[in-house]
């Protein structure tokens, strides 16, 4: 099997006040196509930073990141934006839905950047919301939904464009056990049935146990 994500020798540091804080030191990591990978590690170890680099919302100081043969470290801001909209689905710890938009409209949001007609968009949105089991909550606003339901809307938004990879940053971090299990089940299905490659950051051993591969970060080093 070919690696769909090839992270090679990346360094990343952040500027804080007047000195550099190194966050990732010469990290290399391959993720196979169709894999479900869990990134674990203590707080501040650089998990989110690594995930953001893989997902193309931040750039490494050094090294290359190939995703489906595109070196995203070399793309410009606007090329990256376009690349993300075609290739990556995002799931965040705090769902990050737009509060003034309904579940339907939130899921439709990424499709507004495509050339799909209104009718086609609707078909995709309904399919995605049906997949996450919220076909009867389409006109609800985020504040009218439970945390677990919000996260399912967020997952629907992440998959509606049919991305190559899904990145999830502590997707169960803010949920109770029952809702967390629902979300994990959903991610497992996306991986097994829909063959999505998933990179998930988590603290939770239970969540990590659902993944095929677990990698640990410690103070910026993969162990």
């Amino acid at each position: 099997m070919a690696a769909i994500i090839k992270v090679k020798d990346i360094n990343k540091s952040y500027q804080r006040d007047n000195f550099e804080v190194p966050v990732l030191n010469n990290i290399s990591l391959d993720v196979e196509e169709g894999e479900f990978l869990a990134l674990m590690g203590p707080s501040g170890s650089g998990k989110t930073t690594l995930l953001n680099l893989i997902a193309g919302i931040d750039k490494p100081d050094k090294g290359s990141i190939l995703v489906a043969d595109t070196d995203i470290a070399k793309l410009s801001e606007s090329e990256l934006a376009k690349w993300r909209s075609h290739n990556v689905g995002f799931v965040f710890q705090f769902y990050n839905l737009i509060p003034v938009l309904t579940a339907f409209e939130n899921v439709e949001l990424p499709l507004l950047l495509t050339n799909l007609t209104k009718k086609e968009r609707k078909e995709h949105v309904v399919a995605a919301l049906t997949l996450v089991g919220l076909e009867d909550r389409m006109s609800h606003y985020p504040k009218q939904l439970s945390g677990g339901q919000e996260q399912r809307v967020a997952i629907a938004r992440a998959i509606v464009t049919d991305p190559v990879i899904i990145v999830a940053d502590e997707p169960t971090g803010d949920l109770d056990k029952k809702s967390a299990d629902d979300i994990l089940l959903l991610l497992e299905r996306l991986n097994s049935e829909y063959k999505k490659t998933i990179v998930m950051v988590t603290h939770d051993p239970n969540a990590a146990s659902k993944a095929h591969v677990q990698r640990h970060l410690d103070k910026g080093d993969l162990v």
């Binding site: 953001n52 919302i57 934006a81 993300r84 990050n96 737009i98 003034v100 409209e105 507004l112 950047l113």
Partner: protein
């Protein structure tokens, strides 16, 4: 644009805050329009004064009269086309609140020197024929429902007694800037009664208006007129009508200048109000903008979203303000004494200024939050805690 819906929803996310901002802008626009109207109307009065007219008055003060006999002497001066005498009569018509200019004039010359008051030939002939006839402005005719042949009874104050005038002409102002609220009657009617009742006050006149042939000679002719009466018992002061008007209203003039500045300060205040609303809104939405950027939305979309919202609010506020301005300015025009600002209306330039101001404010208010949203890196947007 597809983010239009989100822009509308964003604008009304905090209904109270947005409504207050809109009302705030509307009130400011009304205040702006009202102040600008006072300023432009005042300036229109000054501008309307003809450059080819001089005013000769008593050197000491406007309130001292001049001998009527000066008329013929001034007429002899080289460069003078025509002289006409005018005298402030005042009096009370109906009650003290009915304030408009009532002047004793020379029917033969007055409308030649003041061609901006338009009268038919027939009306002018009738005015000249009858001793106690008068001519009134069309605004006065409308306001008091007066027609040709009606009697106007005025209770004299400067010139005591009961005065009956019969309306023989209704003049139309040449354009909007000309006062349509004056009343003219024959000086002879006044003078004959003065000769009989208080001869000391007869054959005197308030001031002379002089039409000159060449406006470029106004300074020279003014000097000539004043020289003519130097060392007489009533020395004169002659100046252009414009200088006369400005001098007459010089105290008002300072206030007008202040109002002028104030009207622009108000624009500055609305700018701050809207900018504040927009900055607060954008700050609260830092994460949402990060989400949108993550999903692939570009600078173009954020500009549409943020500037669009700001413009929407400013247009709603500006539109509401303009709509309210008309009745408010109208009401103000009704409330002040008629003669103070004889012509009171919103000038097109005021509307243009208000609209331009509202649009500019919409754009300017969005610049800071927009730059902030564009320059915040996605990762920092997600780490932002409001």
């Amino acid at each position: 644009m597809k983010v239009l819906k989100l822009m509308f929803k964003n604008a009304f996310r905090h209904k109270l805050r947005t409504s207050l901002t809109i009302v705030g802008i509307a009130i400011a626009v009304v205040a702006f329009s009202l102040l600008r109207t006072v300023v432009t109307v005042y300036n229109a009065g000054v501008d309307a004064s003809a450059a080819d007219r001089l005013i000769t008055r008593h050197a000491v003060s406007f309130i001292f009269p001049l001998p009527y006999s000066y008329k013929d002497k001034i007429q002899q001066i080289d460069g003078v086309e025509l002289v006409t005498p005018l005298n402030w009569f005042q009096g009370v018509y109906i009650d003290k609140d009915q304030f408009f200019a009532r002047l004793a004039v020379d029917p033969e010359t007055v409308f030649k020197v003041y061609p901006e008051f338009i009268l038919t030939k027939e009306e002018l002939d009738n005015f000249k024929k009858e001793r106690n006839s008068c001519v009134i402005g069309i605004e006065i005719a409308k306001q008091y429902n007066l027609k040709i042949g009606d009697i106007m009874t005025i209770d004299g104050d400067i010139y005591p007694g009961r005065w009956d005038f019969v309306v023989r002409g209704i003049y139309k102002p040449k354009d909007k800037t000309i006062d349509g609220t004056q009343m003219f009657f024959q000086y002879d009617y006044l003078n004959e009664r003065l000769e009989a009742e208080s001869p000391m006050r007869a054959n005197e006149i308030g001031w002379f208006a002089i039409k000159i042939k060449d406006p470029n000679r106004s300074a020279e002719i003014s000097v000539k007129v004043d020289k003519l009466f130097k060392n007489s018992s009533a020395e004169t002061k002659t100046e252009t009508e414009r200088a006369f008007q400005q001098g007459f209203l010089s105290a008002v003039s300072a206030i007008i200048t202040a109002l002028n500045y104030l009207s622009f300060i108000i624009i500055g205040i609305i700018l701050l109000v809207l900018a504040n609303t927009m900055i607060m809104a954008a700050r609260e939405r830092t994460r949402e903008y990060a989400v949108m950027k993550t999903l692939g939305f570009s600078a173009k979309h954020l500009v549409g979203l943020i500037m669009g919202e700001s413009l929407l609010i400013s247009i709603l506020g500006g539109g509401l303000g303009l709509l309210l301005s008309f009745p408010v300015v109208d009401g103000f025009g009704q409330a002040i004494p008629k003669g103070m600002f004889p012509i009171f209306y919103i000038e097109p330039i005021t509307i243009i200024l208000a609209v331009t101001a509202a649009l500019s404010i919409g754009i300017i208010s969005s610049i800071f939050p927009l730059l902030k949203a564009l320059n915040t890196k996605i990762v920092d947007g997600f780490r932002f805690v409001g």
